[in-house]
Each structure stands twice: as structure tokens, then as C-alpha cells.
Symmetry: C2
Subunit: 242 residues, 2 copies
Amino acid sequence: MELKGIAEILEGLEETIIFKLIDRAQFHRNMVVYQSGESGFKGAGNTSLFKLRLLYHERMDAEFGRFMVPEERPFNTNLPKAKRIVHLPPNDLKIIDYNKVNLTAEIKESYLKLIPLICPKGDDGQYGSSVEHDVYALQAISRRIHFGAFFVAECKYRDNMDEYDCYIEKKDDSELLEKLTRTEVEENICKRVRQKVIHSQRKINKRIRNLIEPEVVISFYRDTIIPLTKRGELIYLLNRKK
Amino acid sequence: MELKGIAEILEGLEETIIFKLIDRAQFHRNMVVYQSGESGFKGAGNTSLFKLRLLYHERMDAEFGRFMVPEERPFNTNLPKAKRIVHLPPNDLKIIDYNKVNLTAEIKESYLKLIPLICPKGDDGQYGSSVEHDVYALQAISRRIHFGAFFVAECKYRDNMDEYDCYIEKKDDSELLEKLTRTEVEENICKRVRQKVIHSQRKINKRIRNLIEPEVVISFYRDTIIPLTKRGELIYLLNRKK
């Protein structure tokens, strides 16, 4: 439970997020998959193919025990119970209900705004593949945000208990957020992510595969991943049990 | 329906395979997930967690219509029917039952031998994530092999109908395989894959993420992906309708 180790795990998740965004970008925007009532699914009612895929995938994941893990927060509610016992390594989190920290609604909203920025315009008919890769990308982003929210917050708290206790008692969100912010670290993340996006695509044949712009991924880190992680840290601290 | 276009699609799938192998390699071998009777799933009987995940995933995929697409061949049988109508672009394949060309048993067998070559020794307890990424990798590999099998074979046939008809009539497997082989193309694929594996991992922090060896991926291409694609081409031609 050291900040350095936690930061390294977050760093290791960067490639996974980048790879999954690149994979999604191989398909067109296919906006129809996000339209309610257009799922084409028998008996599915007024949902979208995207929502349906996310629901089916999470139902499967729930049975496999995914959401027993703190950093895996579900996008859906009313999921089935796990059919297997997940043996988790003990963690030092001080929260009873992990789902108190669940930023999936905000993640989904931001992710859907990212689609037109990484995928080519138009419709290639590859609806199944598009929503399949949406789910993979969303889960990778969500894992990073929630892992940071829980474990970075707990670490920072331990490193400076008295000061955090004071803000927590006052429920002073803005002071807490300021305390949680490390501008230099955030800038380093963005620099590193830029390099990774460039290098992951260096040998790609542009006639064959679509590239994603480093700047788009940086903005997503700057405007979504980093702020939502901090918001999760805040929520964690406000719900932390003594 | 030109060989050059088909080859480019196959080339574009290389990154997807490489990315998914790298993602799997972030988890230990976790050999228990491949052991029958050790799934830990309530009421699952004598199966493994890996087989169970592949089955659940394919049941979901089947409902979403995945296996309506020629290059998406299922690893399991008795899957549910599609719940949506998949509007496919017309193709020029001359085969009625796509599943005549289904090399998933061989793909699975070779893939399981690859695991100890890309994943660190031992057990990290991340069983759910391991089998999740196994499914993603298997599906990417299978798509590449079956896409090649169907479309490369049809293209090659069209470019040289009389000669192929002669071998097909004689059911001469070895002459057909020889005719389908283009050694120079195969060597180029291996060279290109090596470059891609190296460059995809160039900016990776080795203390944090596990790397995969280019040579291991090349061998998998040379000994599994390329020969199984050709075997699929052969099966396609022997089942091709006039």
C-alpha cells in the first residue's frame, strides 16, 4: 500500500486503455448502435445495441465474480449474483460498500463523446464489433478510474491523516480536491500517454488501419480520466470508515 | 474480391492479435483456470474456468449474431440462435455451410501451448481476467485464420480456376497445399509481425508491464496461424460449390 506501487499499476493500465481505443477506432462511428429503439434485437424494447451489449456482458461478468473486485464497478444495476467464489488478496480499503464509489454513468457519458473523435465518420455495418469493443474500452477506462479512486485515496489519506481528517470532518469538497491534486503528476501522465499513443502506432500501415490522435487521448485523460479519478478519491474519503 | 485487398485486411488484424496477446501476458499463467473440475463455478461440473468463460461468451455472441459472419466460427456447438438480424454485405463465397471450415479446435490447442511462452510463471490469483483475455485473444486469432481461409482461397481459385479445378477433382491435398503456398508472402508476414511486436512495446516500462518476445509471436504465426489458414483454404476449396 504505497503510492509509488499504486501509481505504477495505474501506469500499466495506460497501454490497455490505448490498445482498446485503437481497436474500437478500426470501426466506423456507427451511431445507430447508440440509438434507443434501434437495437434490432427481438423483444428488446426501447434500448440501444450498445446498452444491450453492455448489459449482457456485465451479466456474464457478474456470474464470473468480476464485481467482487473493488476497482470493477458495474455500469448496470440488478446484475446476477456471482456463481463462483473469488479469492481476493486482502486489501486495506476502509469502505464497506464499494459501490458507493461508482462513476460509471459519468464514464459512459464521456466515452460516448469520444467516439466521434477516434472513429472515422459514417457507418460500415460492423455494429456487433463496434459495441463489443466499446465494452472492452469502457471496462479498461473504468478499471483505471476506480482503481485510482480507491487505492490512491487510501494511500494519500494514510500519508497525511490529520489534515485529511480535518477536511473530511468539514466535508469541504473543494479543499479536499485541492489537497488530492498533484499537478506535476498529472502533467507527467499526459506526457507519457502521448508517447505511448505515438509509439503504439508507429509501425501501423495507414492505408489499412485507422490511427487515433495522441491529442484526443490526452484530452480524454485530462478532462475525464484524471478528474473522475479525483472525484472518486473524494467520494471514497467522504465514505471512509474510521 | 482481390487478393491484395484481402491481404491488407489480414495485415490489419495483426495489431489486434498482438495487442490481445500483450494484454493476456499481463497476468500470470494461472494454469488452474485450464484444469477440468477446477472452475469453482456452482453446478458447472467437470469443466474448467477457461472453457466456461469461452462458452458463456460465445452464447452471448451467438445471440448478437456474431456467427452469421463467415470468418467468425464458434469454438462451441449448440449455441443459441441470433436475436437480431445481421445485415451482411454480400460476399462471393461459394459455400453453403460456413462451419465446414472450422479450425477452432486446432486454434485452441495451439493457443494453450502459447500461454506458458508469453505469461510469467506461477499464479497471481487473477483468474477472471486471465480467461477474459484468453477469449479476446482466441477470437482475434480465429478471425484472422478463418478470414484468410475463406477469402484468400476464393481469390486464389478465381485467379487460376482450371488448375485448381483439376486438383480439387483429384482431391489431391498435397498438390493443392503446395499450390496455395506462397513462401515469400509468408516470410514477409513474419518480418512485419516481428517489427510490430517490437514497436508496440517500445515505450513500455518493463518494471511495470510484462513484455512478450517477438520470436514467440513469429513462431506462432509460422507454426499455427499460417498453416491453419492454408488448411482452411484447402477445406474451403474441397467444399466449394460450383
